[in-house]
């Protein structure tokens, strides 16, 4: 199952855990599954059907271009990070 790295400021909601193995074939499904176990977590990560503005999704080593629709494998790592632009 994919592994979600819980941002430190969200770990209180996730009962202190820094990583969680969560079922889901997409990031959206994983977020829904997290919400089932840890109510309130989805509202911190998402704005409606999208990631919260200013948040970037990194799956394994790549910044995702597909947001919550990003497909996952059983060995995927999911990270929620600040958006990076450039100069």
């Amino acid at each position: 199952m994919p592994i979600v790295y819980i941002p430190p400021l969200l770990r209180e909601l996730a009962h202190g855990q820094d990583t969680l193995t969560v079922p889901g074939k997409t990031v959206g499904q994983v977020v829904e599954a997290l919400e089932q176990s840890y109510p309130g977590i989805k509202a911190r990560l998402c704005d409606g059907d999208s990631l919260r503005p200013g948040l970037a999704l990194v799956v394994d080593t790549e910044v995702s271009r597909q947001g919550l629709r990003h497909p996952l494998t059983d060995r995927s790592e999911v990270h929620f990070l600040p958006q990076v632009s450039g100069g």
Binding site: P7, G86, G87
Partner: protein
């Protein structure tokens, strides 16, 4: 992908070179047209105030004045947040920064704008506009702004974080945190622990060309904008949002650009020029003076950073902790997030805690500046690393080999690195003759010399690009792309297309098109163009190849699978005597079905981050505090260098800017929040007289995620210089400077304090 390239890695003359050196290249300020009006902006003289009243009646009565606009002429977007390519933008903040709404939040903020028949009349008219302010106390220091007692810039700004929502407004707009392992436990068992505090000043990108925009609001409701911008499509999107227009009614024509470095992504003049043109029915041109560029655009933030790092006796880093507070300026959005992600990114450290804070202050709203956020962060962490090396008596480059990040290292913010080149850059620096060249003190006793090193990292980005390429009958190819050319990219894109087709770079004619003439392209920024738009050019080339193969098959009456395409030659596999060069087949296209156009639109993954390690020799005059750069070597992991001269140019330019950041550049403010050095006379950037030739070493670790191995190269070279220079100064005079810039006065004060 073959590693033996015919075009990639060569140094053809740039396609825009002749126009640029003869002065024929057209920049935004060159725009002239019938009926053109000239605009000027009235800017706030105060750093913080409520706007009570604006009376433009006397200005409107001045002969030659044709319109005045204020924020009332721009629709109020509310608190809408839009994704405009590079990231999320709060449109209320963007609109207020374009023309102030309700409050002014920094001296120099645009208040109103005038259009007149001449620039002089527009300037006189601005003086006739009466504005009533209610002054408010400004706060211009990041730590002061974070205090509960600080004047609040925004009553509706609550700290955003992934943690508990904030209950009362604050000047702290955002809080990030990254955590690995247990830093407290690791520090307790470390053999050496160093903790230091650092301050950096607001610094400007210093592009040579000021902002400009000309807009024509046509009678049919369409708007054309000519401007200096890093992204025509983002200008289109921002103007559409700010003026409530569909993007289809806006055309943006990117002119040649005299530098951007991140500072020409946000709009300033474009919506104002459009609003003035709408009111007058005529084209309106606005240009900024240098003082306006300093006071009214987006410098990079000043910051306070505290770093603590620990290592075991063998020199292995065991723990690192950082607190970063960055000044966002008037509106949220400093690059403290990337700064917090980069601060320890060069190293493999098992226990890390990083807290980052985005803080509003009464200064211009900050913008990106080449690896935004990373330079401040590296100044802090690389100085502490140097001190650890000194305490443990370990060579600084050996320390980096021991602790450097590699493929598989987990960054403090979580992701694991793919194939990267940190260790390769360090080893190349260690082998370079500069590192072991003798460094003797000059005969005059007051001149002391020292050598320093530092490393740095930047992510680079991908994002979206489109390109089309059409085959001409003479065998040349027109490449139409939408990435503003800041550093020679139109040639590097032409080279990638040429390589794909097996023709020469000179046989590709690249042009940067407006938003009506090419598919969507994200900004020229984030070191993305050679990577992403290059990929689009490559894919357009593959599209052309497929069609050329089909055409040859048609001519030879065989199947496409029976045609090979290698190195620009098409050959029939069933009858090897049947062959066309690219040029020969191009000459037959019109009579065999028409011209061939290749196209591509990409949003690629596989972006490769970049690492750099720099070596610098300095000479410090202990009587004046002046620091001279004697020798500078920039070593960088550049992926595959498409055009090595342009890669070298990016490295040298980034290093030069980083040296200016290190030694002289800062916004100086008085207690009223007024910048007191808003000119190049007093805002001291390095010139060619200040710097030696900067030596470059291109370490080519190809990015496996790109067809030609491209990594972005333009940003990471600005990251190491301040720390490298600080470490060199320490070795020269035995004093560590923890504040930027390390200007003569500061250096002298530090020497005298010892």
């Amino acid at each position: 992908m073959t590693a033996a390239y015919k075009v990639i890695g060569t140094r053809p003359i740039r396609h825009d070179g002749v126009d640029k050196v003869t002065g024929r290249a057209l920049y935004g300020a060159d725009i002239q047209m019938a009926g053109l009006l000239h605009g000027r902006i009235l800017r706030s003289p105060l750093a913080h105030a409520r706007i009570r009243k604006i009376d433009a009646s006397k200005a409107l009565a001045l002969p030659g004045v044709e319109a005045v606009v204020t924020s009332a002429d721009l629709p109020d977007p509310g608190n809408k947040v839009a994704e405009l390519g590079e990231g999320a933008i709060n449109l209320h903040h963007l609109s207020s920064n374009t023309l102030a709404r309700g409050k002014v939040l920094y001296k120099g903020q645009a208040m109103t704008a005038v259009a007149a028949t001449s620039a002089h009349i527009a300037e006189e008219a601005c003086k006739l506009i009466a504005v009533e302010y209610e002054p408010l106390p400004p706060v211009i220091d990041v730590l002061a702004a974070m205090k509960e007692s600080a004047p609040l810039l925004h009553d509706d700004l609550f700290t955003e974080s992934l943690g508990k929502p904030a209950s009362k407004p604050s000047n702290v707009a955002k809080h990030f945190q990254f955590k690995l392992g247990d830093v407290e436990k690791a520090f307790k068992s470390a053999a050496v622990v160093i903790e230091r505090e650092f301050h950096t000043a607001t610094v400007h990108q210093g592009y040579i060309e000021p902002h400009n925009a000309t807009a024509l609001w046509n009678a049919d409701g369409t708007v054309t904008i000519w401007c200096s911008t890093q992204g025509a499509f983002t200008v289109r999107a921002q103007v559409a949002e700010l003026l409530h227009l569909p993007v289809s009614r806006i055309k943006v024509v990117p002119m040649e650009i005299g530098g951007g470095f991140g500072g020409k992504i946000r709009v300033y003049l474009e919506p104002v020029a459009a609003a003035l043109s709408r009111k007058t029915g005529k084209p309106v041109k606005l240009t900024m003076s240098r003082a306006e560029v300093f006071e009214g655009t987006g410098p990079t933030p000043g910051s306070y950073i505290k770093v603590k790092m620990g290592a075991d006796a063998s020199g292995r880093l065991t723990a690192a902790q950082a607190y970063l507070a960055y000044e966002a300026g008037a509106f949220p959005g400093s690059p403290v997030g990337p700064g917090a992600m980069c601060i320890f990114a060069c190293y493999d450290i098992p226990n890390v805690l990083v807290d980052g804070y985005d803080v509003v202050v009464n200064k211009p709203a900050t913008s990106a500046y080449r690896a935004p956020g990373a330079t401040n962060a590296a100044f802090a962490s690389e100085t502490v690393v140097d001190e650890i090396c000194e305490k443990l008596k370990i060579d600084p480059l050996d320390f980096r080999v021991k602790n450097g990040a590699r493929e598989g290292t987990r960054r403090a913010d979580g992701p694991v690195y793919p194939r990267i080149g940190m260790i390769e850059t360090v080893k190349a620096a260690k082998k370079h003759p500069h590192y072991t060249a003798p460094l003797t003190t000059s005969p005059p006793h007051h001149l002391k010399r020292g050598r320093g090193v530092a490393s740095g990292f930047w992510f680079n980005i991908g994002l979206k690009s489109s390109a089309t390429a059409s085959v001409n009958a003479d065998g040349t190819v027109n490449l139409v792309e939408g990435s503003t050319d800041i550093g020679g990219t139109r040639t590097s894109l032409a080279m990638q297309l040429a390589e794909a087709l097996g023709i020469t770079a000179q046989e590709v004619k690249p042009s940067v098109a407006d938003t009506d003439a090419v598919g969507y392209n994200d900004v020229t920024g984030g070191s993305r163009v050679t990577f992403a738009t290059g990929w689009a050019a490559y894919e357009a080339g593959q599209d052309i190849k497929r069609q050329m193969i089909d055409r040859a098959a048609t001519i030879w009456e065989v199947q496409p699978d029976d045609v090979s395409y290698e190195a620009g030659v098409l050959q029939c596999k069933k009858d090897m005597s049947k062959r066309f060069s690219f040029k020969e087949l191009a000459g037959k296209l019109h009579e065999t079905g028409g011209t061939i156009v290749g196209r591509a639109s990409v949003d690629p993954t596989g972006v490769g981050g970049g690492f750099a390690t720099h070596i610098v020799d300095v000479e410090v005059d202990v009587e004046t505090g002046k620091v001279s750069i004697l020798r500078y070597t920039a070593v960088q992991d550049v992926g595959k260098a498409i055009h090595p001269s342009y890669v070298e140019g990016q490295m040298q330019g980034g290093a030069a800017q980083g040296i200016g950041w290190a030694l002289n550049e800062e916004y100086r403010y008085n207690e009223k929040g007024e910048m007191t050095n808003a000119s190049f006379l007093d805002y001291r950037m390095p010139t060619c007289l200040d710097l030696p030739m900067i030596d470059t070493v291109l370490v080519e670790v190809p990015n496996p995620g790109h067809p030609y191995g491209v990594r972005g190269v333009g940003e990471v070279p600005i990251v190491p210089p301040p720390a490298a220079v600080a470490n060199a100064i320490y070795r020269a005079i035995g004093v560590r400077l923890l504040e930027l810039p390390m200007s003569p006065g500061r250096v002298l004060k530090a020497i005298m304090a010892t």
